[in-house]
Point group: C2
Chain length 282, copies 2
Amino acid sequence: MTPRPSLFKVSNGLATLGPDGAAILRLLERRIGLWAGEIGAQEFIYAPLQRVENLSRIDYFLNFPHLGTLVAPIARDQLKANYGNARELHSICCGHLADAEYALPSAACYSVYFDMEGTRLDKAVYVTTVQRCYRNEEAYTGLSRLWGFQMRELVCVGGSEEVQAHLRNFRGKVQEFMARLDLPVEVTVASDPFFDRSSARAAMQQVFPVKEEFVYGGSVAIASVNFHRNFFGEKCRITLPDGQPAFTSCVAFGLERWLHALTDRYEGDAQRILGALEGALA
Amino acid sequence: MTPRPSLFKVSNGLATLGPDGAAILRLLERRIGLWAGEIGAQEFIYAPLQRVENLSRIDYFLNFPHLGTLVAPIARDQLKANYGNARELHSICCGHLADAEYALPSAACYSVYFDMEGTRLDKAVYVTTVQRCYRNEEAYTGLSRLWGFQMRELVCVGGSEEVQAHLRNFRGKVQEFMARLDLPVEVTVASDPFFDRSSARAAMQQVFPVKEEFVYGGSVAIASVNFHRNFFGEKCRITLPDGQPAFTSCVAFGLERWLHALTDRYEGDAQRILGALEGALA
């Protein structure tokens, strides 16, 4: 099935969504927005870049430096020397860049924890946000493995029980919605890519599931529920009323991957996809 | 006036919008969405990074290489050597990065022209899109001068008359909307930062206005109407039915700058801002 450009086209891991693709994501976002309302989650639009310093604090460069996409301007001393008559450039040589103090996000919920750094909670906090995320991969595949993609999240920061209840709640809601869309999906226990496989944390997650994925077509995780224990609470000094590190969990939706699954399931027919979403929302 | 975090906070040219700030932008976007509907503009969600090669083709690195924000992963040969035990990093040394083949957009409408490269038009095309744009500046000021910001555009690609009529149409609509919001704004003729001041093109734009800005508070352009003549049509080989290069124009809205203006005008009172927007939309 070749999708029409009104749905999407993809080049080098970057997607352009046409009017039908945009309309489909709007309806999907309406469903998630209603869920956000049900749990009183507040919408934040976070800084679109994350500090290297903050990412380092949560062991990002220790665990997957290869996924990072760093950002930097051209170094000031290179501007005059090399760019006054710059024509037909294909790339900017790394030696001409300034050091990178920021990176593009690779997960939206990190921004929540960075933003809450040093906060002492009165009660559990529910936040929703969508961010352009980036993962530098060896190869990209259509909409299912992109360099840049949109991740919508519903995040809970609170006590251990609250953040686990958040996941149980959405595990059911998301499955029901997928059933209404007639999207066949398997729920699988996954290893959290956040934790190094060889570390004590990775061993720990084999004891109880920290990540479950909703997998379409055998290999494409279109949503996931993630329990981080008190990892981010500890790293970002977010504390519970008793002064202990807060727990966090998130429900994550890869928006372009939903578009992939819906396009595949409904044979690239935008009207059928929109109809299915409207039916499932009704 | 110190804004409340429910509206926004800013650090190093990057803004985080809280629930009130997000709600205000949603209402503003609803207004622009209605305008898009009136002219039959189709919504696109473009690739969030632009190729250095394409930017070079439109003379970007010739005219303002200093504004660019390039992106690159850590070079593969540096990963094992330097990041296996990476702790407490504050920046990634430019020498560890791969060459940058992509940049973050500094204007949303470039994506429209890159996407339409090589197209021959049957009739004028109207597109709307919003993109995270980035401009690397020497200094940043609140929401009015950000490194990263959201630019919403209404773009026309067609004949010279059509693209100029598009601007006349929106010059009036935008002014009327600002009056309904009781936002005092001056319309000023500006030089298009796209064209080098010393170039023949820059001289040309002194003959007839190519850019008018809607300026709040004496210095903050919150919207602009821009006539590019056939510059992008020529560079991106977009042609009219007669084979000549197409003309382009765009109406651009700096979303965070609107939030700045509204916050200033209504003294940081989110309820008054939301009320004013609802009134102006009614």
